[in-house]
């Protein structure tokens, strides 16, 4: 079995945390809860962090078993496959959302024209190839690029930090707006779920769980920093800036003095986007193979490509449709996949503990 290390797992967690949150989300949330969106993010991150703990517990209890076999053993074949199917749909739309966010960025800021199919031609073979070669090779690539991504983000933050910024105005939104924001942002979360799918290919040795948590923490800090500096910089006009990380560089003194520094943000966002697509597609394909056990990963990628093309033509080409879907209907899916099911898994790990105890007593 080709497994990945705790460090590589941590980097996957870091990359998925940044997915869908550093470009469009800050401006979407600002419309409802202004700069208080930072608190919304904090709360959602806290809940999500608990899911990571659930994963670590499950991993500890079932060190070498696949996700499907764990579920099948405890809940039976049909329920297990149904749960996996829910994940399959969840990851399909996660990939879609990630793609559409990247697509909008490319269309608005990089190519300034209709670019859809060209980007598709470019991205689809790369993410398909990454999925086929497997999680281990993919996570090695992430490991190589990790520091470059970190440097890219830090650079964007630093440039923005040295410009005219003032503290964001906090505590101005009513609680109902915060909840509305949380609902809208819900589908951008649920990132740790990929770990459940990859559970059998992850090796976490004793004491290494902290490493995974540390990477998660770095990811959370980065997202919160982007939100804070973005709101500090654009204040009331934040809702107009759809590409938060890229827009951090605009209007800065250094930006004009050194030359156009878009290239740094551009490379960081493209790399991040590609990696996130690779992770979500791999999770989708793994779910697909678990549900349709007779089909290989190559079939799964082919099915994804067809689905992607159909959904792309219907939804992503109209970016607004995809975003409104992500902020209205998809949160229901997120509630089930990211919150209810992990609670079930937590219960399973307790059940397992009780069974082990019972066996010991016998």
């Amino acid at each position: 079995m080709k497994t990945i290390s705790a460090r590589q797992t941590g980097i996957i967690v870091f990359l998925t945390i940044l997915a869908n949150k550093i470009l469009v989300l800050p401006s979407i949330l600002y419309k409802n809860s202004k700069a208080d969106s930072i608190f919304v993010m904090l709360a959602l991150f806290f809940i999500e962090f608990l899911i990571l703990l659930v994963f670590l517990k499950l991993k500890k209890n079932y060190p070498n078993q696949t996700f499907l076999s764990i579920l099948q053993k405890k809940l039976g074949k049909i329920i297990a496959k149904t749960i996996i199917f829910v994940f399959l749909v969840f990851f399909l739309f996660k990939t879609m959302l990630t793609y559409s966010v990247l697509f909008v960025y490319l269309k608005d800021l990089v190519y300034q024209d209709e670019f859809g199919f060209l980007a598709l031609i470019c991205l689809i073979p790369v993410i398909n190839h990454a999925t086929i070669i497997g999680l281990r090779s993919m996570s090695r690539t992430f490991e190589m690029f990790y520091y470059l991504v970190v440097v890219g983000i830090v650079f964007c933050l630093a440039i923005a930090f040295f410009t005219d910024i003032s503290t964001p105005i906090l505590f101005v939104s009513p609680v109902s707006s915060l909840f509305a924001s949380a609902w809208q942002g819900l589908f951008a979360f649920g990132d740790y779920l990929v770990l459940f799918i990859f559970i059998d290919r992850i090796t976490i040795k004793k004491g290494e769980a902290k490493k995974v948590m540390l990477f998660a923490l770095v990811g959370v800090i980065f997202v919160l920093a982007i939100f804070t500096i973005f709101y500090s910089k654009y204040q009331l006009t934040s809702f107009m800036h759809n590409n938060a990380l890229a827009d951090l560089l605009v209007f800065s003194v250094q930006f004009n003095a050194i030359g156009r520094l878009d290239i740094i943000a551009m490379l960081t966002i493209m790399t991040l986007g590609l990696f996130q697509l690779e992770i979500f597609l791999t999770a989708f394909c793994d779910c697909f193979v678990m549900v349709f056990s007779k089909l290989s990963i190559k079939y799964a990628t082919a099915v994804f490509d067809i689905l992607f093309l159909v959904i792309y033509l219907v939804l992503i080409a109209k970016y607004e449709v995809m975003i409104s879907l992500a902020t209205s209907i998809l949160p229901y899916l997120a509630i089930v996949a990211s919150y209810l099911l992990p609670i079930l898994f937590y219960a399973l790990s307790f059940k397992h503990k009780r069974e082990v105890k019972d066996e010991e007593n016998h």
Binding site: S5, R140, M144, F145, I263
Partner: protein, 472 residues
């Protein structure tokens, strides 16, 4: 008489009466002694002085034992079975037989033209040993043995090639090299079905798990000091007769950024040079594609003055930027191929014609732009910071020119991620290709892009398996 004559005729027939097949007969008091050999493979003077004359002058009894122990006192005298006669003759040995004793004696007086070890043209050094491997495998074995003065150094010979019967020697340090790797290599070499091996490159493609891959998965060197140091780390060397290139297995990409010079110079300087090599590699691969991407899709990123320069120089060109870069690239590649194949004096003339006439006149005639020439030339020169990967990088250059020219920076980023993903999927002989960076192996980073002093490398490398290293 009849028996010896018959045997000679039989052997001559099996060698298809080849011109260099020779035989001699010596009639003694007891009977007849026959000598058979290939005259193109032996030292004729040594034959008469050390083989024929001593037998002729010998007054005592002639039998196998006396021939080996008393008459012929050379080192390479041994009794061989009848089935081994032909192979021995092909190896350049003289076969002696008689009608009054049973059995065959082989005397090694091989002599064929060999080169003396000299500095290999592909890897010259400023400081450090200048010896290089030669085509003769025995010399190559000696060069390694001189550097690894240990009884644990093992040479194991395999014969490959139905017709060439080439000697392939596996060399490793027992107790240091990983047994699984040795076994795997041995099995792969034994399974080679081929008519002939004329160079180690033939073996290389059989040892690679993905023979169709663009990327090299087996190390190679012409320098005994490099091979010896790799063997000390636990790698297996493969010496192929008639080839001055010795292969080493397992292989990681980082080896291409390392040079033997790095180990004979200050480690701070070596780190700097490795970093420059890394930059050179990146420039070589992506520079033309990146330039095209900026020029065609992202011109707003370029600093204004640079943009004006490009606009000024590309105005009125008959080609699109994409075709222009491809054209210049093709021009450089043709000049390179020509300079490789022409004699050196003509090669110099071609370089001048290429650089001055074609380049300068092309720019003046308004066919190509100066920035295009500079970028392509830069990438072509940068390519030689890692000369071993020259063929792979050239293919990648074309790929990135197409990607940058048709998809912009997204194409470059996607292509780059694709290539790195692919490289990370290579893990021949239990060795991750991109180690020690992916996966990150902390202990081996001290001989990565940043190099620490030799004394600091206290542990065996862990990027690839070796008996002393940790099992990954």
């Amino acid at each position: 008489m009849q028996k010896v004559q018959k045997q000679i005729e039989k052997l001559k027939k099996s060698f298809h009466s080849t011109n260099d097949f020779s035989s001699r007969i010596f009639v003694s008091q007891k009977g007849i002694v026959g000598f058979v050999f290939l005259k193109s493979m032996i030292d004729a003077q040594l034959f008469s002085q050390a083989v024929y004359l001593p037998i002729q002058k010998w007054q005592g009894q002639i039998d196998i034992s006396s021939l080996i122990n008393k008459i012929l006192k050379n080192n390479g005298v041994e009794e061989v079975a009848e089935s081994e006669i032909e192979n021995n003759i092909l190896d350049g040995k003289v076969i002696i037989f008689s009608d009054f004793f049973e059995g065959y004696i082989s005397v090694d007086i091989t002599k064929y033209p060999t080169r003396t070890p000299s500095e290999p043209p592909t890897s010259p050094v400023i400081q450090g040993p200048r010896e290089g491997f030669v085509e003769d495998f025995k010399t190559n074995m000696t060069l390694l043995r001189r550097r690894l003065h240990t009884k644990d150094l093992v040479f194991s010979t395999l014969i490959v090639g139905e017709m060439s019967q080439t000697k392939v020697i596996l060399s490793y340090i027992e107790g240091v090299a990983d047994k699984r790797v040795i076994k795997e290599i041995e099995t792969k070499i034994k399974n080679i079905k081929i008519d002939g091996i004329v160079d180690s490159y033939y073996i290389l493609s059989y040892l690679q798990k993905r023979p169709n891959s663009l990327f090299k998965q087996i190390g190679n060197s012409e320098k005994p000091d490099v091979v010896a140091s790799k063997m000390l780390e636990g790698k297996v060397a493969i010496i192929v007769d008639n080839s001055p290139i010795v292969l080493t297995v397992p292989f990681i990409l980082m080896e291409e950024l390392q040079s033997s010079n790095d180990y004979y110079t200050n480690h701070h300087y070596a780190s700097l040079v490795r970093f420059i090599r890394m930059c050179g590699l990146l420039i070589a691969i992506v520079a033309p594609g990146f330039y095209l991407a900026l020029q065609l899709f992202h011109y707003n990123i370029l600093p204004l003055n640079f943009l004006i320069t490009i606009a000024d120089t590309t105005q009125g060109l008959p080609f699109t930027p994409f075709l222009e870069i491809l054209f210049i690239f093709l021009l450089f590649q043709i000049l390179y191929e020509v300079s490789l194949r022409l004699p050196s004096y003509l090669g110099l003339a071609t370089s001048i014609v290429g650089a001055l006439i074609l380049g300068d006149t092309g720019v003046k005639a308004g066919l190509i732009s100066p920035p295009g020439v500079i970028i392509t030339a830069l990438s072509k020169i940068a390519l030689y910071t890692v000369p071993e990967q020259q063929s792979q990088i050239t293919v990648l250059q074309v790929l990135f020119i197409i990607l940058g020219g048709s998809l912009g920076i997204l194409g470059i980023v996607s292509g780059f991620v694709y290539v790195v993903n692919y490289l990370n999927s290579l893990d021949d002989y239990h060795t991750p290709y991109m180690a020690p960076y992916a996966p990150r192996i902390k202990e081996d980073l001290q001989d990565g892009l940043l190099k620490r002093a030799i004394g600091a490398n206290k542990n065996m490398p862990r990027s690839f398996p070796n008996s002393k290293g940790r099992e990954r």
